[in-house]
Structures are given as C-alpha cells and as structure tokens.
C-alpha cells in the first residue's frame, strides 16, 4: 500500500532529514553524558529511571510494530512477550539481585563472561556462549534493519530500492552504517575497569522514552479521536464487520503457545546479550533494581495498553489485506495525521536503532574477549608496551562491530521475505539455551563445567535443527524435503516433528526437545564429573555470593609474582594511568613494597579482577598466569571457603561459650586474688610481728646486759632481777625460734615422731593441768566433761599434748566473756577418737574462718598486745594432727563460742607420718 507518496510532509527528503537530525541528537546526548560521567557529575544519569529506561531496549521494532500485527492476527497472543519479563522483574529479589551482585564483585563483562567465570573461568565455554549468541542475535539485527527499511517505504511511499534494488539505495545499509559508527564511537572509547558505557545508556534510555511516547500518541489518537462515537472504531455491531471477538478471548489450543512465549520472554529478558548488558553489566547501583522491579513492568504495561485499540482501528479503517504490522504507521497516515505518522516512524526508528547499537556492542565485547583476544594471546601477537594492548583490544572490538553489522546485512539481503518475522521468537529460543547453565550455576554448587558445556552444545544443536534450519529453508540452502521426509528419509527425525511429536506448536516443540537435551546432559554430566579446584572455588563464590566479601578468593590462591611484572602487565593492558591508580589504591594504607619484591596474593587477585573488567575473566586469568608462578589452589583453603558459613556459625557459638567461661574464670580469679592478697598481708604481718617479737626480747636482753656491763656497782637485787630478765627473754626467743623451726620441720617432714600406744584421756588431763596456771590467772574455768574410760590410740604423746595445750590456751586467751567457761569432751565415735574444746567466747569472725589454720594468721581484729604467741599455734597443731592421720576443725562457730574438734583415727598403720 502506499500513502502520502511524495506529498508534503512525508516526502523522502523530509523523512531522511528528520531522521538524520534525530541521529545527531543521539550523538550529542551520548557525548554529553559521557562527559558528565567522566567528570564524575552523573546527575540524572545515575537515576534509577534512566537505568530502567535503558532496560526497555527490550522493546524493539519487532514489538513496536509487530505487536499490533500479532494482535490483529491472533488476539491476545502478543501479550506474553511483555508478561514474561514482568514476572522476572517483579521477582527481582531472587535472581536478578544475585546476578547483579556477582557481576559487580567479579567485574563481569558479558553473559559469556558470567557463565565462563562461574564454571572455573573456562575459555571454551565462553567461546560456545559467544558463538550461540552471535548466531542467535545476528538475524535479529537484520530484522531491525529490515523494519527500518520497510517502514521508510511505508511512510514515504517511496518505490523499490528496498531489498531488491541496488544496495546503495537501500536505506538499511545507511542505517546500519550510522548505527555502526555510533556503536564504535560510544561503545569503544576506552578499555575501562568495567564495561560501563554511560553515553550509550543515556542514548538508549532517551530512545525508550521516544518510542513509548510515540506509541501512546498513536494510541491516544485511536482512543480519543477514532474510537468513540457511532462511527467510531469501538462501536459494536458495525455493519459488515467481521467477528472480532478473537481479539479478546482465549482461543482453544493456544495454551501451549501462551506458556511457551511466556517462558521464552522471561528467559530472554536475562539471557539476551543486549539485555544482560544493560540490566546486569551496566548497573551502577544494586538499589536501582528495586526501582526497575516495578518501573520496567509499568513501562511494558503502558506500551502494550494501546495495541488492541490500534489493531482494531487498523482492521476497520484500512482496506483488508493491509499489512497489520504497519498499522502503527498506516492508521495515522490513513486518517491524515502526517506529523503523527512521522513521529511514529521516529519511534519505530528509535526502537530499531537502540537494539542494534546495544546488541552490537555486547556481541563485540564477547567476540573480542572470548574469541579473538585469546587467539591473539595464543599466537603471541598480543605484545606491546604501555597501553598498546589496550589499543589492540579496542580495534578488535571495532572490527567486531563492523563484522556483525556486515553479517546482519548479508542475512537481511539473502533471506526470504517472510522469514524474518519469525526470527524474534527463534532468537529467544536460542538464548534460552543459556538459562539452565546460568540459573543452575547460581544455585547448584555441584554443577560442573563439562555438564554446562555439553548441555549447551546439545541444546543449541537441537535448537538449530528444529527452528533455525526450517526457517532457513530456501531452495538453495536447505532442501524442503528435510522438512517433510526427515534427513535421509528418516521420518522419525523430522526437524519439526522429532520423535513422533506431531502437530505440536513449533516453538514449544523446539523448546521441549532442546531443553530435554540441554538440561538432561547438564544434570547427568555434572553428576558424574568432578570439578577442578578453580571450578570449585568459583562455584562456591557464585552460589554463596551474598555471604562473600570481595577478595575472599585471594586467600585460596597460592601464587607469587613480582610487583614489577604485575605492574608491567597492567600497564600494557590498561595503560599507565589506570595501572598507577590501581596500585596506588591497593597500597593506600599498607606499606609500600620495594621493587621486585613479591606481590601479595591479594594484590594479584585485585589486578586480575581489574583486568577481568576489561578483557573478561578467562583472558584475565590467562594473562595473570603468564606472570605468576606456582599457581595452585590449596584444597584446604577451598574447603575452608566452602565451609566458611559453617565455620562462622560454629565460631560464634564457640565465642559465646568462651566468653561465658571467661566470665566465670574472671570471677574465680578475683576471689583467688583477694585471698592471695590477704595471705600476703598475713605473711607481711607475721614477718613484722616476728621481727618485733624477736626484737622485743632481744632489746630487753641487750639493754639489761649492757647495763650490767656498764655499771660495776649494780645492787644485788637489781642484778638478780636483770639476770632473770635475760634468762626469761632468752627462753622466749628460743621458744619462738623453736616454733618456727618446728613448723618448718613438720612441713618438710624432717621431724620425727614417737609413736606409741597411749591413752588420750591422760593426755587431756596433762594438758588441762598444764594450762591450769594460765586459766586461773584469767579466771577461766576449764571443765573436763569426759568420763574416765580409756581411749587408746597410737600417737606421739608429747605432740598431742602440745595440740591440746594450744587449743586450751587459745580458748582461754580469746575468751572475753564475763564468765568464761571452757568445756573439754572426748568420745570414741566411728573408729576415731573425738576430742572437742568448746568455749563461750566471741567466736571467730567469718573472714578469719578460712585462715585460722594457716600459718602466720592472727585474728585480724586483734590489736591488743596482751596477746602473745606467734600465730603459729594452730598451724602447728594442724600439722601435728595431720601427721597423726587425723583432722582438726572448727566445728561450730556462733557468737556463743567456738568449738574445735580433733579427730584421731584409732590406728595409724596406714598413714604417712610425714605432713603433706
């Protein structure tokens, strides 16, 4: 059909001029955005809205125009293509977020890089993904070029020149060249730390806006102008109108196709190289995903809202047989809205060009990183001094872009006219082969590289056989007999009815069998192969992405390189400036190394990561391997990393118990410390007291003897008394020294005991007699409350007497009761003789309780000098009793007085005679 041929607004010249100006606008926008980004003043560019709009590159001319066409032919069938991505983005929390996180940490440059990186930085896996991507995407690019050419014809009514005439009159060529130029200029400016292209992102975000507004404008035209009213498009029961109810009902038998397209579009929104590029690789801030989660589905919602109305309008207003794919253009034209038609054309132009730009860049990155550069490295062609390698990479990318466009143009020129339309979904089905390896790699730690590789190759092969070849059926390329009879006549293997699956929806048929092969082999091979050490490390890092800190993987590698070599490599690839910055950043805060010194593993890992951001993980690894030595992964480290989460949990539990134990210990230490301090004080007190005690008699003796020496005429009485003093004090000294030696001797076991069978009762009598004088002196009554039954035991008589005397003396000494009474009891009980000395004195204070039997202890409240003694009495008593095999205790301690109890076993045959 033709419309507005050559008249007024829609002449070819006008259209071309407007398009050209639009392209210039895009260039300017991209340039300005790049400048702002480089000057670190991103402003609007950093907004999540721009990010989301860039994701909308998903809506290509195939959806801009083709949706209406699809709706006209099949009703709501067009909708799943928008609904699939909606479901994926609405569920961003699970998958998209993990993809974004991993890509940020590992500086992923493309989907091929991601898959290769996950499976041990496998170079061959990257190659396969790249080739599948190129084969699957190039026809799609051709489709866009065709759309531009076709719509140009439709808008201008220009005759021929398209597709059949000279190539130079073909608009597609010029569009391709412009877009290639755009992609090269803004997509290959520098080899950066990552594959971020702010200029490109800004440009396609703008284009997404333009195409949305264009669609809405045409939709508004239909809804507000053409629709309402009795002549309008929506009035039911229009004369001669066909039954259009299929436009809004669910047709029987379309369920399979619906689900298939839903699934394919959901997988495509991640797996299409251009989508992975804008959604995952270009993401600046993970939080933007939260906005895109609802904003992108909203975009899809809006752009699909007017599809059915426009389809209706087209079917009613335009002569039957018109191409429904062009309704978006032809409806405005038919109703005389030429400017709107031009705007719609620009919208379609936007949708086509944004797709080819991003797709070509994404593919060129993959081709250069994973196919061409590795070959160049292998051929040792990739040499050069500072920055030369970077330039080389850039030129490889540019040539890749040109090659891709060339391939697309070739495909466009040679393909049969109707074939291209089907390419969209066929392309989706191709990239869907990435999905098992991708998603499996995120969650299944046991997935191996070989499993992914075989699955991918098998799935791709089945896809090619069931979808690509039938689409290419062209008398010269593939014989149609293949379709009807199967290869070599084997009907069982017909491309469109494999294994007897007759009359299935072709898309579903292909998806089904390709996934049987893909997932089947992926799972089976992964189960029977063992991953290598690098694979295991990468799989742990990827599946545990939310628990990892960047740099964890550095710990696992044991490799060494000189800082010099490393710097040289980085300079070659990234240029001197970037290299300097990387090293400076790393050493900020650490001690700077000397030249030629070993580079820390963390530095090596950091450099590798930076390189990966430019040339992909596999190539980066290869480059680093070239300068490092002794590259190995310690298995322990891997297991360590793998079990990191377990370790962390166990560690924190251990920390808890430890801190509790520490608290307890601290408490105990405090108590022990207190005790020690008191003992120490006691010791000091004893020493000072002992020296005082020693000095006092010494002083008396000296004084008196000096006196006697100095004066000849001392009176007799005085002289006798003085000598008495000397004698007494000397005795006192001796006694004190004896006590000390005694105790020491008992402690060391050097003191001998005379053990013989003795009646304890007699000893008690002796003891009471011995203190008689003392007790009389203090007015204390000592009561012997025991009967005369003999209590025999094998003991040292003298020593035991000493103990009883000591107990009695203490009882007398400390009893401040106005009527002091001491009771002595003795019985035989349970194979031992029990003797108790009880008094009605003040008792012993709580704090002294524990210490009374220790050496050097004295009542801490005792300050009177009336009390003599060394404080060793009880200590000696305890030693003696222990040597005799018995016990001595403070039985009862109340303010009514203390009770000391001595228990002596009847026989001491088995007792060690030495004190412990």
């Amino acid at each position: 059909m033709s419309a507005g041929a050559g008249n007024g607004i829609l002449s070819a010249g006008v259209v071309i001029t407007v398009s050209f100006l639009y392209v210039v606008l895009l260039f300017a926008l991209a340039f300005w955005s790049d400048q702002r980004a480089r000057g670190n003043r991103p402003g609007l560019l950093a907004s999540p809205v721009v990010y989301t709009l860039s994701i909308a590159v998903y809506c290509t001319s195939w959806t801009f125009y083709g949706a209406v066409g699809s709706a006209s032919r099949g009703g709501l069938e067009f909708l799943p293509i928008y609904l699939g991505p909606t479901l994926v983005f609405v569920g961003w929390w699970a998958i998209l977020r993990k993809l974004a996180r991993i890509s940020k940490v590992h500086r992923i440059t493309s989907i091929a890089d991601f898959i290769s990186s996950r499976y041990g930085k496998s170079g061959r896996l990257a190659v396969v993904v790249t080739l599948v991507a190129v084969i699957g995407t190039t026809p799609y690019i051709a489709l866009q070029l065709k759309a531009v050419a076709t719509t140009f014809v439709a808008v201008t009514g220009a005759a021929a020149g398209a597709a059949t005439g000279s190539i130079f009159a073909d608009t597609a060529l010029w569009v391709a060249m412009c877009m290639a130029l755009f992609a090269i200029v803004f997509g290959t400016r520098k080899v950066g730390a990552d594959e971020h292209h702010p200029g490109i992102v800004a440009a396609i975000a703008f284009e997404s806006l333009v195409k949305l507004i264009a669609v809405i404008s045409v939709g508004m035209l239909v809804l507000l102008v053409l629709g309402p009213g009795p002549d309008g498009v929506f009035s039911p029961g229009k004369e001669g109108a066909a039954d259009l109810s299929y436009l809004w009902t669910f047709r029987e038998g379309s369920g399979t196709r619906w689900m298939t397209v839903l699934f394919l579009s959901a997988s495509a929104i991640i797996c299409l190289p251009r989508q992975f590029q804008v959604t995952i690789v270009e993401i600046e801030n993970e939080r933007h995903l939260a906005t895109a989660a609802w904003l992108f589905p909203l975009y899809l919602f809006l752009i699909s809202l007017f599809v059915i109305p426009i389809a209706l309008a087209g079917m009613t207003l335009l002569p039957s047989g018109s191409n429904p794919d062009l309704f978006v253009l032809t409806v405005p034209i038919a109703t005389g809205n030429d400017w709107l038609a031009l705007f719609a054309f620009i919208g379609g132009f936007s949708s086509a060009t944004s797709m080819v730009i991003v797709a070509s860049i994404a593919l060129s990155i993959m081709l250069s990183n994973h196919v061409i550069m590795p070959v160049l490295f292998g051929l040792r062609r990739a040499r050069g001094s500072s920055g030369e390698l970077a330039t080389q990479i850039l030129w490889v990318r540019r040539i890749s872009i040109l090659v891709i466009f060339a391939l697309a143009l070739v495909y466009y020129r040679i393909s049969a006219p109707g074939a291209l339309a089907a390419i969209g979904l066929i392309s989706f089905a191709a990239v869907a082969q990435f999905l098992p390896a991708l998603i499996g790699g995120l969650y299944w730690r046991g997935a191996t590289e070989r499993g992914a590789l075989t699955g991918l190759i098998a799935g791709f092969a089945v896809w090619a056989y069931t979808l690509l070849i039938p689409a290419l059926i062209h008398p010269e390329i593939a014989p149609p007999l293949l379709l009807t009879d199967g290869p070599g006549g084997i009907s069982f293997l017909r491309p469109e009815a494999l294994f007897g699956a007759e009359n299935w929806d072709p898309l579903f048929h292909s998806l089904f069998w390709s996934y049987v092969a893909n997932i089947g082999l992926y799972v089976c091979i992964s189960l029977v192969t063992r991953p290598g050490p690098l694979e295991r490390l990468q799989s742990a890092l990827f599946t545990d992405a939310f628990r990892q800190q960047p740099g964890d993987d550095a710990l696992a590698w044991q490799r060494s390189a000189t800082a010099d070599d490393l710097r040289g490599l980085t300079e070659r690839v990234l240029g001197r400036d970037r290299s300097d910055r990387i090293f400076a950043d790393f050493f900020a805060g650490r001690r700077a190394p000397q030249e030629n010194l070993e580079a820390a593993p963390a530095l090596i890992a950091q450099v590798e990561r930076n390189l990966a951001g430019s040339v992909g993980a596999a190539s980066a690894r290869a480059l680093i391997s070239g300068v490092t030595k002794g590259e190995s992964i310690s298995l322990d480290e891997i297991i360590g990393i793998l079990d990191e989460t377990q370790q962390v949990i166990r560690y924190s539990q251990r920390l808890e118990t430890q801190s509790r134990e520490l608290e307890l210990t601290a408490n105990q230490l405090k108590i022990a410390n207190e005790q020690l301090r008191r003992l120490d004080k006691q010791k000091d007190d004893f020493l000072s007291r002992v020296s005082h005690e020693l000095r006092t008699p010494m002083t008396s003796i000296r004084a008196v003897s000096e006196l006697l020496q100095a004066y000849d005429d001392v009176p007799e009485e005085r002289r006798v008394r003085s000598i008495g003093i000397i004698a007494k004090e000397s005795q006192r000294l001796s006694r004190l020294l004896d006590d000390i030696l005694d105790l020491a001797g008992m402690a060391e076991g050097t003191v001998t005991f005379n053990i013989e069978e003795t009646d304890v009762i007699t000893i008690l009598d002796d003891a009471i007699l011995a203190v008689h004088g003392y007790s009389e002196q203090n007015g204390v009554s000592v009561i012997s409350a025991y009967d005369r039954t003999p209590l025999d035991a094998r003991i040292d008589r003298g020593r035991l007497t000493q103990v009883f005397v000591n107990l009695l003396s203490n009882a007398i000494k400390y009893n401040d009761n106005p009527e002091p009474v001491i009771e002595v009891r003795a019985t035989r009980r349970r194979g031992a003789i029990e003797v108790s000395v009880s008094d009605n004195g003040p008792g012993i204070s709580e704090e002294d309780r524990d210490l009374i039997f220790t050496r050097f202890s004295r009542s801490t409240s005792d300050t009177t000098s009336k009390v003599s003694g060394s404080g060793l009495g009880l200590a000696i008593s305890k030693e003696i009793i222990q040597i005799l095999g018995g016990t001595i205790d403070l039985e009862r301690n109340t303010s009514l007085g203390a009770v000391f109890t001595v228990r002596i076993p009847v026989s001491i045959e088995n007792t060690d005679l030495r004190a412990d």
Binding site: L87, F89, V90, W248, M259, R287, P297, L305, Q548
Partner: protein
C-alpha cells in the same frame, strides 16, 4: 522477623503472578463482559498486571528500607553483611 516475611513475600510474588497467568485460569475468565462493556479477559489481564506492579513497588520500597535500616549498606560492591542464619 518482619524482614524475613518481606523476603518471603518478595520470593512468592512472581509465583503468584505466574499462577494468575496460567491458561487454565485465563480460560475460566475469558468470554465475559466486565464493568458494563469491557471484555473480561483483557480487563482481567491488565488489572492483574497492574496489581503485580503495585505489589512489586510496595515490596521493593519496604525491602530497601529494611536493608538500609539495621545493616549498613555498601552500594553494590559486596559486603551485604547478611549474617549467617
């Protein structure tokens, strides 16, 4: 605990959406007329679609607030700091 519920809801939402779009459900809805004169299937689809969008928007906002609250968030450079549970 509330964070956990939010996360669960975020994970369930796409499944709810998928369910609403199953052919089985759509066949049930198809063929009628809603709100005076609109065909039921498109109406249902677009309403459900919009509901999903709104739900996603609300959940996203809540999730972001929850993340930024108790834990300090580095922007997208690892260090999510999710404690092991």
């Amino acid at each position: 605990m509330r964070n956990q519920k939010l996360r669960d809801a975020a994970l369930i939402l796409p499944f709810v959406g998928t369910f609403l779009l199953l052919p089985i459900v759509l066949r049930l809805i198809s063929g009628g007329r809603w709100f005076a004169d609109l065909p039921s299937l498109p109406a249902f689809l677009y309403i459900a679609w919009l509901a999903l969008i709104i739900a996603a928007g609300v959940l996203s906002r809540l999730l972001l607030k929850a993340e930024a609250g108790p834990e300090t968030e580095n922007t997208a450079a690892g260090g999510d700091g999710e404690p092991p549970r």
